[in-house]
């Protein structure tokens, strides 16, 4: 029996293929799509390079080692490592050379800046939770458990600003790490304690200023390029 003339087999096949190949998004992606009100942005979030299992395991291991070292020595290594680990994740969350399809994504309707913002916030949140767990496990005082959140914000913002301006995740990580090392070392020299950078309440305002300024730099650097028309 032949196919009736008015049946377009190609069209029928595409309909069948669409159902066969249809992929049900992961629960996290479905939730993100509802929260962000954009399935595209949700998919972009789940493809964040620094949220892939390998990166997360590496971060967790670094913080676990820091936590163990802190328990043994009494020095808040977990709190000192958390800002750098988070800065690395943020610097490698999105950009040229980090996301393989960066050039393609830039020509799509979902905003570049939104992808960067959503990915950076997600990486920050995940690292904050991991850092808090590591800090709690290290038996640090409450002031230290939460004291590193503000410096972490400042270091992450600095790394993101540098990565965005230089269009290089490595540059972002290098700047963030160097700044944090200088900060920790200078506090150590001034006060004699290695943990001063995360425990001195007087540093809250400078960290906040750095974070806000760097965020402003990122917003400026990721503005839509306005060509003449």
């Amino acid at each position: 029996m032949g196919v009736p003339d008015d049946v377009d087999l190609d069209r029928v096949w595409v309909g069948v293929a669409a159902q066969v190949w249809r992929r049900r998004p992961h629960r996290i992606e479905r939730l993100a799509a509802i929260v962000l009100r954009s399935p595209g942005l949700a998919r972009a979030l789940t493809t964040t390079p620094s949220l892939l299992p390998g990166s997360l395991i590496a971060t967790a291991l670094i913080l676990a080692v820091g936590s163990l070292a802190a328990r043994e020595t009494g020095t808040p290594y977990a709190a000192l490592l958390a800002p750098v680990a988070a800065a690395a994740g943020i610097a490698y969350s999105y950009g040229a050379g980090t996301d393989p399809a960066w050039e393609l994504i830039r020509a799509t309707a979902v905003s570049d800046r939104m992808i960067l913002l959503v990915r950076a916030l997600a990486v920050f949140a995940v690292n904050a939770v991991l850092g808090l767990l590591a800090s709690l496990a290290s038996g640090a005082a409450t002031v230290l458990t939460f004291g590193w959140l503000l410096p972490m914000t400042a270091v992450c913002a600095l790394a993101l600003a540098a990565a965005t301006l230089a269009r290089s995740a490595t540059a972002g990580l290098a700047v963030g790490t160097a700044a944090w090392l200088v900060d920790v070392a200078s506090r150590r020299l001034a006060g004699g304690r290695l943990g001063a950078a995360v425990s001195d309440a007087a540093l809250s305002v400078p960290y906040l200023i750095v974070a806000v300024c760097c965020a402003a730099v990122v917003v400026y650097a990721t503005r839509t390029e306005r060509g003449v028309s």
């Binding site: 190609d10 996301d99 309707a109």
Partner: protein, 248 residues
Amino acid sequence: MNVEAADLTRRLGRTQAVAGVTLTVDRGVYGLLGPNGAGKTSLLRMLATVLAPSSGRLRLLDGDPGDHRQCKAIRRRLGYLPQNPGYYPRFTVVDFVEYFALLKEIPAARVPRAVAAAVERVGLGDKATARLRTLSGGMLRRVGIAQAIVNDPDLLLLDEPTAGLDPEQRVAFRALLRDLGQTATVIVSTHLVEDVGAACTQVGLMDQGRIVFSGTPDELTRRGEGTDAAGDAPLERGYSAVLTEARA
């Protein structure tokens, strides 16, 4: 007109990549020819809204790409394949094309059918669920083309789309180009003069950031007649003759 550019320029550091291009293109397939470093990729990136012009006037699909809202609307109707698109090795063909369908804001209910149609159109139906890391260079190129056409674009920009395709695939791709050109504006940057002869209705030749020839492939061929310009085919001789004249 789907593309209207007037005196468009772009500086990249000290290099004047595009030096005053004036171009109007409507429906059909427009081939952009030129030697390496002629400015084809920079021009295509500006048309893809990835790179802003340094000066000049640009309108795409009757919109202003410099305006945020209009740029978003343009991008929903745009397809773009860069020279080096970049792929996620762990994605399957369908995952990758679907990702870009979502980023192009195709309504979610229409995505599966749009993805299936694009994958079938580039002849990758039998590889739909294969991971990208297992595909050959030519197949990856076709995946790139599939993501570019998944939204049925009104403006399709392809930078060296036939690189890595074997002769059979190139013939099939030229047929696809001619088909797409029936309803959309397709701009193809290529080194391969034979692609232009086989698939393009209009051709532009770029050199040192400028368009030094614009016309039909037949007109370009005629420019080489009666000259001693280099080339194995009539169109190649036309290409060489125009370049020699432009540089004289």
